[in-house]
């Protein structure tokens, strides 16, 4: 790739909030953007460490989120605790492969993708790798974008629990698993947002 000149060499700093390129010299004592008054850093401080911390928290939360039941349904036909994977299997077996696929993508594929993607980004940044810098930036944008789609499961459980309250005929109640799953989504989103994508382009010292 053609070596581009980096902002540091040009004495410029980018405001991550409004996208204004500010000259380093013009930054005042408070290091705030002239246009939007948000704090400007050359690189988000300790970005990789924070991202890693959130990522680890997300992975840890992901285990109980899958092991614990997310919903408890009871009714005339008996009662059952369902986990995410159990629900997917049940839908798949009963022939609703489309719903099974949707839930699988939203609650298994997406979080996994996020873990792998963020992990990959962290690893490459740490190694100051120059490998596929553009692709990695795109990957980061995707991760940031799809983060909240995993909330689909949480919304399904919330809606079902709220609507299915027919006493004897049938009731649904959330179970702790869904709280962990919600935590996974939130924590991975925080992890993604604390990552500074500019690090991808930094050249090794």
């Amino acid at each position: 790739m053609t070596p581009l000149r980096q902002s540091l060499e040009l004495g410029l700093v980018l405001c991550r909030t409004c996208g204004l390129a500010v000259s380093r010299a013009s930054l005042g004592m408070d290091r705030r953007c002239r246009r939007c008054r948000s704090r400007i850093e050359h690189r988000t401080p300790l970005s990789t460490e924070t991202t890693l911390a959130w990522l680890i928290a997300g992975i840890v939360f992901y285990i109980p989120a899958n092991l614990l039941p997310v919903m408890h349904t009871s009714g005339l036909l008996g009662e059952a605790d369902s986990t995410i994977l159990g629900g997917i299997l049940e839908f798949w077996r009963s022939g609703n492969w489309d719903i099974a696929l949707l839930i699988f993508i939203a609650s298994v594929a997406v979080p996994f993708t996020k873990f792998i993607a963020i992990g990959l980004l962290l690893l490459t940044v740490r190694k100051n790798s120059r490998w596929e810098q553009h692709q990695r930036t795109v990957l980061y944008r995707i991760v940031e974008f799809i983060g909240y789609w995993s909330m689909l499961d949480v919304i399904v459980v919330a809606l079902t629990s709220a609507l299915m309250q027919f006493q004897v005929l049938g009731t649904a109640e959330p179970r702790p698993g869904i709280a962990f799953f919600c935590a996974v989504v939130v924590v991975t989103m925080l992890s993604a947002s604390s990552f500074d994508p500019r690090l991808i382009w930094d050249r090794g010292t």
């Binding site: 928290a57 840890v60 939360f61 036909l77």
Partner: protein, 552 residues
């Protein structure tokens, strides 16, 4: 981190700022640590909550589903089926279940498991909710101290799944009658328990296990007698028709009842506390104990139609036993077919007599009994078939003293004892009736009828004569009589001259009597008037006399 040295070279301020920045991001590590702590604590709790894993074998796994079928104790979920496999010999189904943590103490060696399915019986309906929700596995904990993880499941639910407090009792009976599991047990018409089990013992008798709930189990004492209260007891006695039943449910499903027996202590069946004899009915239960039966045999030289097995044997009018067999024998000497009747006797039913005899040592052994019976036979003890009812023609055996009967041989060595017999009274009756019939037969009925016919002819002639001659005269006489009475009636009428004359004569007579009375009065006061005539000074009295005369 890598940026730290660059700004510090240009400005003086960043140095403290960097320290701050370095400290704050470290705070973010609290999140994964907290997550890890939560995760590990969950794991530990899960591990702690993980209860025992048990295996239950059933003959059939109908309706049991992995992950869905629950294990319930007192209708509370305590576990879930985790696996179903066939046993290695393919004879049973092995159902594995994960139970919750606190249930380890429920799993005794004698803990019972069964599959709850809908059941409908006469007395109860159970498990209907499983029609919709699917079956579940019921659990009843045991009392053993040993813990167990492998169980053999019951095919039928135990009658008492939730173990109310009370007492279990074993009743022994020759046959259980129409008792069903769950049949009620009554104490003075109150339901106090249920039949929970029935077993056929190896000797062919029945053992019925009943459960009497607390606090009514206190009514079960050593003297308590149990009897079968199934059905309706209809008794036609001297006091009229008497219908007895414990309850309608007992009529349909059978039932047991118990009450205190006669006050004297009765040894419980088999000598074990909690084991009782189940009697056929209340009368039998309340009777004093019969003791061991003694068998006797009797040969009757007459037909005994109407004598059935079970017919009573009465000694001086007291029922002391029953006929157990009626058999036909053959005697070669006179080519006869005597009827051989075997009966069992309960000497204890003789009551006080038995006690007296026992006190004299006459009931001690078979020999003493035989010797005593021998003396009784010498005194005239005979067995005699008698008619119990002229309507049904049923017979019973009466043991009675008939001193007039011919002497009979008694062999005290034969077992069972053989009592001499006399022919039944019903035959005498028959003979009497026969004689009567013969006499009636012998009557010259035809002659009587002929004579009667002649007499009747004569009578007829006499009557027609009466009709022809006497009756017309009688009619004339009667009309004359009628006329006479008519004139008499007229004569006696109130308006007739005779009547009026009579009335006038009577009033005349009355005034005459009045005058006579006056005169007598006057003479009474003035007797001298007879001689001197009336005094003139007495004149004023005349009006008084006239007023008295006018009064009547």
């Amino acid at each position: 981190m890598s940026t730290a040295p660059t700004p510090s070279s240009e400005e003086e301020l960043p140095t403290p700022a960097i320290r701050n920045r370095r400290w704050i991001p470290r705070l973010v590590w609290v999140v994964p640590i907290a997550a890890a702590v939560i995760g590990i604590s969950l794991l530990i709790r899960n591990w702690q909550n993980a209860g025992p894993h048990i295996t239950i074998s059933f003959l059939s796994g109908e309706g049991v589903q992995v992950g869905k079928t629950l294990v319930k104790y007192r209708d509370v979920t305590v576990g879930r089926v985790s696996d179903i496999v066939l046993s290695s010999d393919h004879e049973t189904v092995l159902v594995s279940a994960d139970l919750s943590k606190d249930t380890a103490s429920l799993l005794k060696a004698d803990t019972q498991f069964w599959i709850v399915r809908p059941r409908i019986g006469v007395g109860s309906v159970s498990g209907l909710n499983t029609l919709l929700s699917g079956v579940y596995i019921g659990l009843k904990t045991g009392t053993a101290t040993r813990r167990e993880r492998q169980f053999a499941g019951l095919e039928n639910p135990p009658a008492l799944s939730h173990g109310p407090r009370g007492r279990e009792l074993q009743l022994h009976a020759a046959r259980a009658g129409s008792l069903a599991i769950g049949a009620p047990v009554y104490f003075r018409q109150f339901q106090v328990g249920r039949v929970i089990d029935e077993n056929l013992l190896p000797d062919g008798s029945t053992r019925v296990t009943v459960f009497v709930e607390a606090p009514y189990d206190g009514f079960v004492k050593a003297v308590t007698r149990f009897w079968n209260a199934s059905g309706i007891n209809v008794k036609l006695g001297a006091d009229g028709l008497n219908v007895e039943t414990e309850s309608l449910a007992a009529v349909l499903a059978g039932g047991l009842a118990f009450d205190d027996g006669p006050t004297e202590a009765v040894p419980a069946a088999a000598g074990i506390p909690g084991e009782y004899i189940l009697y056929k009915n209340e009368t039998e239960a309340m009777a004093p104990p019969d003791g061991d039966p003694h068998f006797i045999r009797m040969r009757f030289a007459q037909a005994l139609r109407g004598l059935e097995v079970g017919a009573p044997v009465e000694f001086v009018g007291v029922n002391i036993g029953s006929v157990v067999a009626v058999d036909l024998g053959y005697e070669d000497q006179d080519r006869s077919f005597p009827v051989i009747v075997t009966a069992k006797l309960y000497p204890r039913r003789m009551g006080q007599a038995y006690e007296v005899l026992a006190a004299q040592g006459k009931t001690g052994s078979d020999e003493t009994i035989a010797a005593f019976v021998g003396t009784l036979v010498n005194r005239g003890l005979r067995a005699q078939p008698r008619s119990a009812s002229l309507l049904t023609g049923k017979l019973y055996i009466a043991l009675d003293f008939l001193p007039a009967s011919p002497r009979a041989a008694f062999d005290a060595t034969i077992r069972p004892l053989e009592l001499p017999t006399v022919n039944g009274t019903f035959q005498e009756l028959e003979a009497g009736v026969g004689r009567l019939v013969k006499k009636v037969n012998d009557l010259p009925l035809e002659k009587i009828a002929r004579d009667l016919h002649v007499d009747l002819n004569d009578l007829h002639e006499t009557l027609s004569e009466l009709h022809d001659r006497v009756l017309p005269n009688a009619v004339d006489t009667l009309s004359a009589l009628h006329r006479t009475l008519d004139s008499a009636d007229r004569t006696l009428d109130g308006e007739s001259p005779l009547q009026r004359g009579l009335t006038e004569s009577l009033s005349e007579a009355r005034s005459t009597l009045q005058a006579v009375h006056e005169l007598a009065d006057y003479l009474d006061r003035h007797p001298d008037a007879l001689l001197r005539g009336r005094r003139p000074q007495k004149m004023p009295q005349r009006p008084a006399a006239s007023t008295s005369e006018a009064k009547p």
